[in-house]
């Protein structure tokens, strides 16, 4: 009895499914029909893993502006192989788990050709294995040493920004010769900060200096005075690098802690990235030094391509937005997005990239790159790319705070930043 009731039901379900399936196929018709005749008109889709929310939000905002400006420029000049670039932006929440999901989305849902743009090292480290599994070229703009250390994989490249190991190696001679030999380091307690801890301490010891104390601070911390008493009394130089939403509080409380009798201070501009140097409480920084990936303030001897780059992104001579002088940029890092997008273009053109089938050829084309001359495509300066370690090397700037502005005092050459290879990704299979 039950069978006779069941049968017509299942038959009608089956026919309903058939109709639905046919209707569904018909509905998608324009989508796949489009590919058959006009492949070259399809834009190149670059998945932009953006820190919209979470502790990296200020960087995300400026990485976005720089990337949009670079895309507008490249598209105005005819795109890549005649195809326009389309930036597909997804928020990763500055969270490693979400980062891996975002890559998945780029590869499987939004049909991106490559993924790009991640800064925070824990997100890169969390996402890169997924990029390897998806065989999706993953261009990070992160500074972390994790690319060149061999921790990641053949699909992950960092061609647009130098890594922490090379940066600190170039800073150590300046610190020990000009500021002092006894250093106390203050850094954020995650992968990026650990790169500073490990490589700067080695580099300063090679210069005859000594790290007296290492103070690790969680990047989500909001109150800092409690960490400063750990600074030994005989410290000659404070080396600080901090990230997260509370960087201004960090620097301000450091000033309040030392009062009028501060030691020499050398910081990575990360500690004040996106923060106005004229904010109240920062006066004590006058005369202190900062590493800058690229100068925030327009230097008097800046080249024309630097000015064009700054105009395209929309930063004024103080490194703030041309629309809001209070909205200070992340100038020392965001140039990496501009340069990376130009490298993706160069790599796609060199490999004759036509679609996701050519992803491997794209990675190989970028690996084959070496010299990158300074110019509008590389406004931060000339660079040398190491295809084996997937890492680029370039000049580093040391600036001093003078009259509330950062003035470049020393430029470390590319040679100062080189170190022996730790990995050869080109021997790994795709």
């Amino acid at each position: 009895m039950t069978k006779s009731i069941d049968r017509p039901q299942s038959a009608s379900r089956r026919s309903a499914l058939k109709t639905l399936g046919a209707a569904g196929a018909a509905a998608t018709l324009p989508l796949w029909a489009r590919y058959t005749n006009a492949q070259t008109a399809e834009p190149i889709r670059i998945g932009f893993q953006k820190h919209v929310t979470g502790i990296g939000a200020a960087y995300g905002r400026w990485y976005d502006r720089t990337s949009q400006a670079a895309v507008a420029k490249i598209n105005a000049e005819g795109g890549i192989n005649g195809r326009m670039i389309e930036l597909v932006t997804e928020d990763d929440g500055t969270d490693p788990k979400r980062g891996a999901e975002v890559l998945e989305k780029f590869a499987n849902q939004s049909n991106c050709d490559v993924a790009f743009g991640t800064l925070f090292s824990h997100v890169v480290i969390g996402s890169a294995p997924r990029a390897g599994e998806l065989k999706l070229p993953y261009f990070v703009v992160s500074e972390g040493h994790h690319v060149a250390s061999g921790m990641l994989n053949r699909w992950t490249l960092q061609p647009g920004i130098t890594d922490v190991k090379s940066q600190v190696q170039a800073m150590a001679p300046f610190v020990s010769n000009n500021l002092g030999k006894k250093v106390t380091m203050i850094f954020p307690d995650f992968a990026f900060g650990h790169d500073h801890r490990d490589y700067f301490s080695k580099a300063i010891e090679a210069q005859g200096g000594q790290v007296l104390e290492m103070i690790a601070i969680p990047p989500t911390e909001t109150s800092f005075t409690k960490y400063f008493p750990k600074i030994p009394r005989d410290t000659e130089v404070i080396y600080h690098v901090m990230v997260g939403p509370a960087v201004l509080t960090f620097v301000k409380e450091m000033g309040e802690f030392f009062g009028p009798s501060r030691p020499e201070i050398f910081g990575f501009i990360d500690s004040l990235e996106a923060v106005d140097l004229s904010s109240p409480g920062l006066d004590f920084l006058e005369g202190t030094y900062f590493w800058e990936g690229m100068p925030r303030y327009l230097q008097p001897d800046a080249a024309d391509y630097v000015k064009s780059y700054r105009d395209a992104v929309g930063v004024d001579e103080n490194g703030a937005s041309t629309e809001d002088a209070k909205d200070v940029s992340t100038a020392a890092h965001m140039f990496g997005c501009w340069e990376t997008l130009h490298i993706i273009k160069a790599g796609m053109e060199a490999s004759g990239y036509s679609g996701p089938g050519d992803r491997q050829a794209l990675v190989e084309a970028v690996e084959a790159m070496t010299d990158m001359p300074a110019g509008i495509e590389h406004p931060q300066g000339a660079k040398v790319f190491n295809g084996k370690t997937h890492q680029v090397f370039g000049s580093q700037y040391i600036s001093q705070v003078e009259g509330g502005k950062l003035i470049v005092k020393h430029t470390a050459s590319i040679e100062d930043t080189l170190y022996p290879d730790e990995v050869d990704y080109t021997t790994q299979s795709f």
Partner: protein, 308 residues
């Protein structure tokens, strides 16, 4: 740094945290005491206080002091009004049912956080303190000439941090006087003791509830306004603050004002001292462990009374 000055610095830092925490947790304790509502969105009212302080200070201009005073008046009132409206539109509709209010306030938490993210953005923004000068503190040591004063490196606080401690103490005293000495306070206490009987005596319990929820949120917002010149307003700042407030309220005894204040001082000071001498994570571990011990051995909290 030597032990003596080090400890003094740790205690000063702890006192600032304790002051803010006491103010915020007394709001949480008040809503629980009178309404029996566990307000999970309390941390977001704290964050809203800080964010609104930034908006007000930004709009008012005219010097840091005027902007700060305007923020300290407007932000808590606005947040309190918003909370009272939430009470009337949400909590009242679900009859203050304990389980459903928890879920409702969790929803409120996300709504407030996301709306802040969408309007104010993900940046941390500073508010200028009305005054802020560094005060170097002396320390004494037995030298060759007997007791001598000297100024150790780093032993300092700022006038604003001292102001935060004093302001929180005054505000808590004011809340206490309001509850014990005014007619409105009497009505609230009557509602707390027995809301049915209070209704029978003609007390508009629903309006009392809305007012209490508003005052509780307003206290959290005030704490946010006080801390924002030291820290910075950020849309995620409510999370940690909520956790610490719950710890304080549970240790002190839900609904007990005196217990809340004692527990805030205990947790604030121990957090300051332990994080200076050991690590901030250890301070959190110990605070949470203390909560567990209190729940096991004295579930009503240090100062709470056993349920009748």
């Amino acid at each position: 740094m030597e032990f003596g000055p080090y400890l003094m610095l740790a205690m000063l830092e702890g006192a600032v945290l304790a002051a803010v925490l006491a103010l915020m947790a007394s709001g949480l304790s008040l809503t629980f005491g009178v309404m029996r509502v566990v307000n999970v969105a309390h941390g977001e009212f704290y964050m809203l206080g800080a964010v609104m302080a930034w908006f007000v200070a930004h709009l008012v201009g005219g010097g840091a002091a005027i902007a700060f005073i305007a923020a300290a008046v407007i932000a808590p009132l606005a947040v309190g009004a918003m909370a009272a409206a939430a009470d009337m539109t949400i909590l009242k509709r679900i009859d203050y049912d304990p389980e459903r209010t928890i879920v409702a306030t969790i929803g409120l938490l996300y709504v407030i956080q996301q709306v802040t993210l969408m309007t104010y953005g993900a940046d941390a923004r500073p508010v200028e303190p009305p005054f802020n000068s560094r005060i170097a503190l002396p320390w004494f040591e037995w030298g060759e000439e007997g007791l001598a004063l000297y100024y150790p490196w780093g032993l300092s606080t700022t006038s604003y941090k001292l102001f935060v401690i004093a302001a929180a103490a005054v505000l808590i005293l004011a809340v206490r006087l309001f509850m014990t000495r005014t007619k409105a306070g009497l009505i609230m206490r009557a509602t707390q003791l027995d809301s049915e009987m209070a209704t029978a005596f003609g007390i508009p319990v629903e309006r009392v509830y809305a007012a209490v929820f508003g005052i509780g949120a307003g206290l959290a917002a005030l704490a946010g306004v006080l801390i924002v010149p030291v820290q910075q307003a950020h849309y995620l700042m409510g999370g940690d603050a909520l956790l610490l407030s719950f710890i304080v309220v549970i240790i002190g005894g839900l609904g007990s004002m005196a217990g809340t204040i004692v527990a805030a001082i205990l947790i604030g000071m121990s957090d300051g001292i332990i994080s200076v001498f050991f690590s901030p994570t250890l301070a959190k571990i110990l605070a949470t462990l203390l909560v567990a011990l209190v729940l096991v051995f004295r579930p009503q909290g240090l100062f709470g009374s056993r349920p009748r």
